[in-house]
């Protein structure tokens, strides 16, 4: 039953890494089991909940829907790479200050998706925020404080724009 393994080389949070994986292993499992980056969580493994969201080559990706071997040569960012040493990113800090998490299980996925959104050139309005982040599920917060946290971070980072409707 020993399945042949393939060596995957990629960059994770700025570090070159190598992992020997079976071809059918998902990228999420590769990160968690082979690279011991367990901050990426699995809520559904069928692409709906977004808990597993990471950034691959500059795009948000559901790591449960991608194979590890597809990450050959990729630049990957996970929740573990957001803080700069002891200093939380403005978004992480906003989640903390605005109570944007309760159990924290969905949080890495929201943080990665929102991090990506805040790095895009277009300004963040409430409509855009809700549109983008409605692809992830949270069962604890009722979303109100997630919206408030991301709004606060967007303002701090100079990315916020009042929506036309307001």
């Amino acid at each position: 039953m020993s399945e042949p393994k393939v060596t995957v080389c990629c960059t994770v949070n700025g570090q070159k890494v190598e992992a020997d994986v079976v071809p059918r292993m998902s990228l999420a499992d590769m990160l968690r089991e082979e690279l011991h980056l367990t901050g990426t969580h699995l809520g559904c493994e069928h692409g709906v909940c977004g808990a597993c969201t990471i950034i691959v080559n500059g795009a948000p990706v559901r790591s449960c829907l991608m194979f590890g071997i597809q990450a050959e040569g990729a630049e990957i960012r996970t929740v573990e790479g957001l803080a700069d040493g002891d200093t939380l990113s403005p978004l992480q800090r906003a989640f903390w200050e605005k109570h944007g998490l309760q159990c924290g299980f969905c949080t890495p996925g929201f943080l990665m998706l929102a991090t990506w959104m805040l790095e895009q050139p277009e300004p963040v309005t409430e409509e855009r925020l809700r549109h983008v982040l409605s692809s992830n599920l949270c069962r604890c917060t009722g979303y109100t404080n997630i919206v408030r946290a991301v709004t606060a971070a967007a303002k701090e980072m100079g990315k916020w724009a009042e929506s036309a409707a307001a």
């Binding site: 039953m1 109570h99 604890c140 009722g142 404080n145």
Partner: protein, 780 residues
């Protein structure tokens, strides 16, 4: 209603950012799947049929290191058998793995153990269950009706629990009043915590003990339950709830999977882990709120409800959940139906009916989301019938004099049912809304507003559970507190939070008493080796009960510190103040608590006579309970063409008594509301007639997203109850209790021009469209 506290407080009432969060936002939490990395994997083969006889189990050739465990292998394990002492309760046995028959789709039948998850899944796919199907019964009303297939032979009518209550004057009141009758149906829900269930069990060869890390809400209870099934000493089992990714009641019960994990680890002296996938969670964890109520309100000409007569059916699934028993839904509905309303005469007949479906277990609010949906719909329908304004009819019926004894002998403590409603009417600007609604209707748009007034029984101790005649009566909590030699405070608690921020709120309570910074307080929870026996976190109880015990224990510790300070400062104990990590006496002398701690432990001589040799204290708290309350308002727009509902605004006016950390309280309310919105509009577990489940993914069972849930505004009133030592009331469930009624009342208000009245939740677009179509067909 009492006002806010006059004494300024240092820690209570502040929005302290949670102590839990820095690790979680860095992805450094430790959830059970993180702990399980590298363990041998357990995968369950689950029954594909709802009812049937097991003829055989065919196993593939097994590679080395792979185990396939069947019911025959675990015949020595005792089944799970929760018990109730009354209510015609029939004790049914849930096998760990069945030997003869299966009772629902998703029931674990075989456990496969392999070195990795992938290998275990491959083997599981190759196991063939030869099951001869029998006729299943799935639908609640059919199962309760005559001639239904029998799920368990000892319960020939499928009734597992049955409660009745009837006040002597009810019949007379029914005879002389206007009767408003509604038929209410709640469809089946799944709590769907974002982290599924899971456990990792490992055997320690040196001690012979097993440690089970599991995503659970009641670690101590789980330990007792597992040890009983296996017949092992509890002392040889340690249960740890690490970071838990939400529970909402689903993670309270003892499931066969956990018993099996411990058995495997012990028997094979190894490490095994089972991490449930989402499909398993949706089909086989626990379901809730599959209920049917027929409600008859007896109103006088003024709209005063003189009597209430209710018939309740609850689908309890194939087995009875442990430890609450399947009485949890029907008997809670029986006890608490009247909610915040005065009801002089009351009758209920409540039954829990077994079917070939997944096991029912508590889910945030248990029966009360259905009960308040029914009551609040009743108020609306009665108001219309009697031509009274719907807010006015509530004014005439809400309890305003406290304490109030209900017909089921519960005592409602000081609350603000009327005041929260009036405030909600004001915040929502009801007259302004009516004008906008009118203008919108003229443009063919349907806006609606819905109200829901609830009370929420919280923080109840053992008497409330004893009243249900449960063999096991949870309730009290114990807190053991200690100041270490370096001056930190450790509190070991029996409650087991999983997102509620209890580490922060309890630290605030303790900081207030002991005068140390919250950063120097460690709350230790969820580990049976390190915490006193307790009941975990559920039923909106932890802040009230574990918080109350924390306050009492911390008060004792503070007393001890003052006594020590008095010795060391040569002052009067009664004059010592503890503040900012110091003990101070009038006149300026002071000493740090750190120094006191060092002295107590390391230079015991002079003060040991006064305080002994340690800084340990403990307290247990077992309150009667208290009722928080709220009024919710939903403003919606319904698309009459598609039946789709959009929530435009959501307002909560909440009274939770004293708030320890208002930000955390608001978060609890908002999260509950979002789940209630899911219940109201989207979420439904659906079986076909044979008991196959049709909603096995998040594409079919649809929790709400940020696109469906609007900003949730929370306003507070604060009635400081004398019923709890903290003057605080629990809030864990109120959001989900009140929301379905508010949302569906709003839909009905929006569709007033069509005369649509909905009595089924969730009010999916299909149901709303069907109701509009039916109304159009019957209208002239």
């Amino acid at each position: 209603m009492a006002g806010l506290p006059d004494e300024p407080m240092n820690w209570i009432g502040r929005n302290i950012p949670r102590l839990e969060d820095p690790a979680l936002v860095r992805g450094e939490g430790r959830f059970v799947a993180d702990i399980a990395v590298g363990s041998r994997a357990v995968v369950f083969v689950r029954s594909p049929v709802a009812a049937g006889v097991i003829r055989g189990i065919e196993k593939p050739d097994l590679p080395r290191g792979v185990l396939v465990i069947t019911g025959g292998d675990v015949a020595a394990l005792k089944p799970i058998v929760p018990r109730l002492g009354r209510f015609n309760y029939v004790a049914i046995e849930q096998p760990i793995l069945p030997r003869d028959r299966v009772h629902y789709v998703g029931q674990p039948v075989v456990a496969v153990v392999a070195p990795t998850q992938r290998e275990a899944e491959d083997i599981a796919d190759a196991v063939f269950l030869d099951i001869e199907p029998e006729q299943a019964v799935v639908d609640l009303d059919s199962a309760a009706g005559p001639g239904a297939p029998v799920v368990h032979p000892m319960a020939p009518t499928n009734t597992i629990v049955e409660g009745r209550i009837r006040t002597p004057g009810l019949d007379a009141v029914l005879a002389e009043s206007t009767i408003v009758e509604i038929d209410v149906r709640s469809r089946r829900q799944n709590a769907s915590p974002m982290e599924t269930r899971g456990g990792a069990a490992s055997f320690d060869k040196a001690s012979g003990r097993v440690s089970l890390h599991a995503s659970v809400q009641m670690p101590h209870m789980l330990r007792t339950g597992i040890a009983d099934c296996i017949g092992m000493p509890e002392a040889d089992l340690r249960v740890v709830a690490p970071d838990v990714g939400g529970g909402f009641g689903q993670k309270m019960s003892l499931f066969p999977e956990y018993v099996l994990l411990v058995w495997l680890a012990r028997k094979y002296r190894t490490e095994v882990a089972w991490i449930e996938d989402r499909r398993e969670n949706l089909i086989a964890s626990a379901h809730s709120r599959d209920q049917h109520h027929i409600v008859r309100g007896a109103f006088d000409g003024q709209g005063v409800m003189r009597g209430l007569d209710v018939e309740i059916l609850a689908n309890i699934g194939a087995f009875s959940c442990y430890p609450t028993t399947c009485g949890v839904e029907p008997l809670m509905a029986l006890a608490e139906y009247a909610g915040p309303y005065k009801v002089a005469e009351y009758g209920t007949h409540a039954r829990g009916i077994t079917t070939n479906t997944a096991v029912m277990a508590p889910y945030r609010g248990v029966s009360r989301p259905v009960v308040s949906f029914a009551l609040e719909r009743l108020m609306e329908v009665a108001a219309k019938r009697l031509n009274i304004d719907p807010i006015e009819i509530r004014r005439r019926n809400l309890v305003t004099v406290f304490p109030h004894r209900t017909p089921t002998n519960m005592v409602l403590d000081e609350a603000s049912y009327l005041e929260t409603m009036e405030k909600a009417v004001e915040v929502a600007d009801l007259p302004g809304f009516r004008a906008r609604q009118q203008a919108a209707r003229e443009q063919g748009r349907y806006l609606g507003i819905g109200f829901s007034v609830i009370n929420e029984r919280t923080g109840y101790g053992t008497p409330a559970f004893a009243a249900r005649s449960m063999e096991i009566t949870p309730g009290y909590e114990r807190v053991e507190i200690c100041m270490t030699p370096s001056g930190e405070v450790e509190a070991r608690i029996g409650a087991s939070p999983h997102g509620q921020g209890l580490r922060t709120t309890l630290a605030q309570i303790i900081a207030e008493e002991v005068g140390v910074d919250v950063q120097r307080i460690r709350i230790i929870h969820g580990d049976t080796d390190r915490t006193p026996y307790g009941w975990g976190t559920f039923a909106s109880r932890s802040l009230v009960i574990a918080g109350g015990a924390s306050k009492l224990a911390a008060g004792k510790l503070a007393q001890k510190l003052k006594r020590a300070a008095a010795v060391l400062l040569q002052g009067e104990e009664s004059q010592v103040r503890l503040e900012a990590g110091m003990a101070l006496i009038p006149g300026g002398a002071s000493i740090s608590l750190d120094t006191i701690a060092r002295t107590v432990y390391h230079s015991a001589g002079p003060i040991s006579e006064k305080i002994g040799y340690d800084l340990n204290e403990a307290a247990t708290y077992d309150p009667e309970g208290t009722f928080s309350n709220a009024c919710h308002v939903a403003v919606v727009e319904v698309d009459a063409e598609t039946g789709n509902t959009r929530i435009l605004r959501y307002i909560v006016v909440e009274d939770a008594g004293r708030l320890i950390n208002p930000m955390i309280v608001d978060g609890q309310v908002q999260g509950g509301v979002a789940q209630g919105i899911g219940n109201a509009l989207l979420e439904e577990i659906i079986y076909d007639a044979d008991g196959n489940i049709l909603t096995g993914s998040f594409a079919d069972f649809i929790p709400p997203t940020m696109a469906e849930v609007p900003d949730i505004e929370v306003h507070h009133l604060a009635t400081l109850t004398g019923a709890t030592v903290l003057q605080a009331k629990g809030v864990g469930e109120g959001g989900s209790i009140a929301a379905p009624a508010a949302v569906i009342n709003a839909i009905c208000d929006a569709l007033q021009p069509f005369g649509v009245q909905l009595f089924e939740m969730p009010a999916t677009p299909q149901r709303v469209r069907a109701a509009i179509r039916a109304a159009q067909e019957t209208s002239p």
